[in-house]
């Protein structure tokens, strides 16, 4: 008969802290904690003695004082008497604006380039490969500056549009490309325009309802309703009818040359265009590679199996390849969006008033509150990044392969 006994539990000895794997990790962590605290204390004491020597302190009161500088492109009310906090808000909105616009256009560029790069057309696929390699391998800052230079040094000044035989003319009489920015028509909302907009929104809901109904009908009875032209009709017909019934309430205000500059319309400044276009075309090259990788990741067997089931090429793409490819494409796509947001901080190089240029640029230089400004700046970007990562995690969990 054997008796099972526990291994001898010796009393705790000090040497076990180093030799026993059960306790060793505590020793290491304790040492690490001490080192960490010591280094933070060292850096902190340096900081405070340096600040004291320079007669500074940490204070966020500068946020409430008037900023004292003008911003040429703002989304909310702002003048030079507004507070620094307001200037930072303008910067935040401008950052979000350019990041959003660049995300949309980068996706369009990237998807087109990625799909065309896989095309069987030799010339087109080589051209797209060329685009991707050229834009990926040259720093985005150089692209921003190149496009900004085109905007400021190549486009004609408003003066060129004047006179009997102007050297420059407006495109379609509605768009003016000048070195001060691009002027586009602005919508004018007359009385009754609300009804038209509401109709349009209702039509969008209607399109989705129609598509859902068509799918349900297909699954229930096998009858296939046409999708394309009814969707278009539902989307535009009621709005157009309502537009004329209400007596054309929405008009366009065209930019016009008055005096030395263009008046009316919406002005999009050169820095915004440069940043927007450079970010989208640069990130578009990366997205093209993601899209290509995603489509190539779908094995050929999937396409062939769908073909064997009798699906037509368009449906194979929509129902079989794309849903699987998107699972591969979207995570890197979202991290590219994150990169766009972070790269939009390069706005400071061309003078676009984003958060880095207002809070981290002019406010920092005028108030001398370096530490506070940089900390707030980092906090903002960190918040954005964490939000986008959170969205990405939610998405990844929702499309994860349900393995049994």
């Amino acid at each position: 008969m054997t008796t099972m006994t526990d291994p001898p539990q010796g009393a705790f000895r000090l040497s076990m802290l180093l030799n026993d794997t059960r306790y060793r990790s505590y020793t290491f962590q304790f040492i690490a904690l001490i080192v960490l605290i010591a280094s933070f204390a060292y850096l902190g004491s340096n900081l405070f003695s340096n600040l004291a020597a320079a007669g500074l302190n940490i204070s966020y009161q500068f946020l409430g004082t008037p900023a004292g500088y003008d911003i040429n492109q703002t989304l909310v009310e702002y003048d030079s008497q507004s507070t620094n906090a307001r200037a930072a808000l303008v910067g935040i909105l401008n950052t979000l604006l350019v990041a959003f616009m660049a995300c949309v256009t980068a996706t369009i560029f990237g998807v087109i380039a990625g799909v065309l790069r896989l095309s069987k057309n030799w010339l087109v696929s080589k051209l797209m490969a060329f685009y991707v390699e050229i834009f990926r391998n040259i720093p985005v800052l150089i692209w921003i500056i190149i496009i900004f230079t085109i905007m400021t040094a190549v486009l004609p000044g408003p003066r060129a549009f004047r006179g009997d035989e102007p050297s420059a003319s407006m495109v379609l009489n509605a768009f003016a490309f000048t070195n001060r920015g691009i002027y586009i028509p602005a919508p004018v909302w007359g009385p009754g325009s609300l009804v038209v907009v509401a109709t349009f929104l209702a039509s969008i809901v209607g399109v989705f309802a129609y598509r859902r109904y068509a799918t349900k009908l297909l699954y229930d009875t096998g009858r296939l309703l046409p999708m394309g032209w009814p969707s278009l009709a539902i989307l535009f017909a009621p709005t157009l009818v309502m537009f004329f019934v209400m007596g054309m309430p929405i008009g366009l205000e065209l930019p016009e040359l008055r005096g030395f500059n263009f008046q009316g319309g919406i002005k999009i400044g050169g820095p915004l265009i440069a940043l927007w276009f450079a970010l989208s075309i640069y990130t578009g090259a990366f997205i093209a590679e993601n899209v290509r990788a995603g489509i190539q990741a779908i094995s050929k067997g999937q396409t062939e199996a769908a073909g064997a089931l009798g699906l037509r090429p368009g449906r194979i793409m929509n129902l079989v390849v794309l849903p699987q490819a998107l699972r591969v494409i979207i995570p890197p796509l979202i991290s590219q969006y994150l990169n766009i947001t972070k790269n939009s901080s390069l706005a400071i190089a061309v003078g676009y008033a984003d958060i880095t240029a207002t809070l981290g640029g002019i406010t920092l230089n005028q108030t001398g509150r370096a530490i506070e400004c940089v900390l707030l700046l980092m906090l903002f970007y960190l918040t954005i990044s964490l939000c986008i990562s959170a969205i990405m995690n939610v998405y990844n969990n929702s499309v994860k392969l349900k393995e049994r």
């Binding site: 057309n121 051209l127 391998n137 040259i138 800052l141 400071i348 940089v374």
Partner: protein
């Protein structure tokens, strides 16, 4: 039998007819064009659009390049020579060549020093990049950082020699103790190196730089493409060990170590590089001991190294996660302890998997070194936007300069990515 035919048929061919060539449209370039360019109407339209697009680009750029002027001393003179014809004023490149490469403050008579360091860099990098070269060359790679420092900054030779001595002493202590315990060897080596540096630092006289054989060049005089190269090379090589440590720390079982690494990595990855450069330029000096001054170059190197190490850590973590669990268990069952398992089994495989990712980070980082022009360091882009475009001779020569910068970066980055693809093929051991 043949007799009957001889009577019924007038002529019988006795040899075979040679095969006629395929129709013109089903072979050769025409077939290729038909298959690859004009297979469907849609593709034909695409081809025509693409061809027109290429024509536009070439028609715009070729005359500009071939009519270029290479030997004038100012923009006005260049425009006179061109006389209204479309052409580039490339003379800005020939005239400001040294400024573009070395910045505008580096002493002209010392240009041979960074050039020599640049050439030696290839010798030093060769054994790291190409595994077939003799391993003895790695000795030169180890010496290169000290040599390059001495060549670029000059000053007293004792500083790089002291640094080298510290490293050698540290390595000797490490190899003496590592057999017993990795931790003892590692930390002992670091401690020994620091002891040598501190003692040696007291021995070097303060005015050693003034009497040195090589003229000392302060960091703020560095500039041009040299600055981009130095930042790129220094930060990538410094951030590799840091990144490996962070990746291992993030995988650690010890919660404190793990969370410190996670917070560091996520924080750095969440903020743009430019805010970190702001930290370097306006904030970091507050964290150094009062009364000391650190030059901007060192502060920027610290911040960019932190930045890239966080990204490299994530790439290496991917490599560690891609290793099959069995590799860890096999290492454990052989009785290897943690440092041994990591050094002998896990890291060699994980690093191999992560090489393409690391190269991507390196290329991205090299491109990002242009950002230092925002905090008014005169790198290649800073030189172009600052001193050269602001000068009276060359005010307005945008395309030649920006195109040159773009070309330089393209050559380097494209070269590195091609090398990475070659290396991936070399390291592919899975015989597919």
């Amino acid at each position: 039998m043949s007799d009957t035919h001889a009577h019924s048929v007038a002529f019988v061919r006795t040899e075979q007819v040679p095969p006629s060539p395929p129709p013109f449209t089903t072979s050769g370039p025409v077939k290729w064009a038909k298959d690859n360019l004009f297979s469907t109407p849609f593709y034909s339209v695409l081809t025509i659009i693409a061809a027109y697009f290429i024509y536009l680009i070439l028609a715009g750029s070729l005359p500009w390049i071939f009519n270029g002027v290479w030997a004038t001393s100012s923009l006005a003179e260049c425009r006179e020579v061109l006389d209204g014809v479309s052409g580039g004023c490339f003379s800005v490149l020939t005239e400001r060549w040294n400024q573009l490469l070395f910045g505008f403050k580096y002493p002209a008579e010392l240009y041979w020093r960074p050039t020599l360091a640049f050439v030696l860099m290839f010798v030093a990098a060769a054994p790291v990049l190409f595994f077939k070269l003799p391993r003895q060359l790695l000795v030169f790679t180890a010496l290169f950082p000290f040599l390059a420092y001495y060549l670029i900054w000059g000053g007293t030779i004792w500083t790089p020699l002291l640094a080298l001595a510290g490293v050698i002493v540290g390595y000797l202590v490490y190899s003496r103790f590592v057999a017993g315990s990795f931790a003892a060897g590692f930390f002992g080596g670091i401690a020994a190196a620091f002891v040598v540096w501190i003692i040696g630092g007291m021995l070097i006289p303060d005015n050693a730089n003034d009497t040195a054989m090589m003229q000392a060049v302060p960091s703020r005089d560095l500039g041009g493409f040299m600055l981009n190269m130095m930042l790129g090379v220094a930060c990538v090589s410094l951030s590799l060990p840091l990144g490996i440590a962070l990746a291992l720390g993030r995988q650690s079982d010890m919660p404190l170590i793990k969370w410190v690494c996670v917070i560091f990595i996520e924080f750095i990855r969440g903020v743009p590089l430019i805010t970190l450069l702001f930290v370097a330029s306006v904030m970091l000096s507050y964290f150094f001991p009062p009364g000391t001054t650190t030059d901007l170059f060192l502060r920027v190197v610290i911040m960019i190294t932190m930045f890239s190490s966080a990204y490299i850590a994530e790439v290496i973590r991917g490599g560690l996660a891609a290793l099959p669990r069995g590799q860890y268990e096999a290492a454990d069952s052989l009785g290897l302890d943690y440092p041994q398992a990591m050094r002998l089994i896990i890291l060699p495989q994980a690093l191999k998997i992560s090489i393409p990712g690391i190269v991507n980070i390196a290329v991205g980082l090299f491109k990002d070194t242009t950002l230092v022009s925002v905090i008014s360091m005169f790198d290649l882009l800073g030189m172009i936007r600052g001193p050269i475009l602001a000068s009276t001779e060359w005010n307005g020569v945008y395309w030649e300069l920006l195109g040159f910068a773009a070309l330089l970066f393209f050559v380097v980055c494209y070269g590195i990515s091609q090398y990475s693809q070659w290396l991936e093929r070399q390291l592919a051991t899975d015989h597919r």
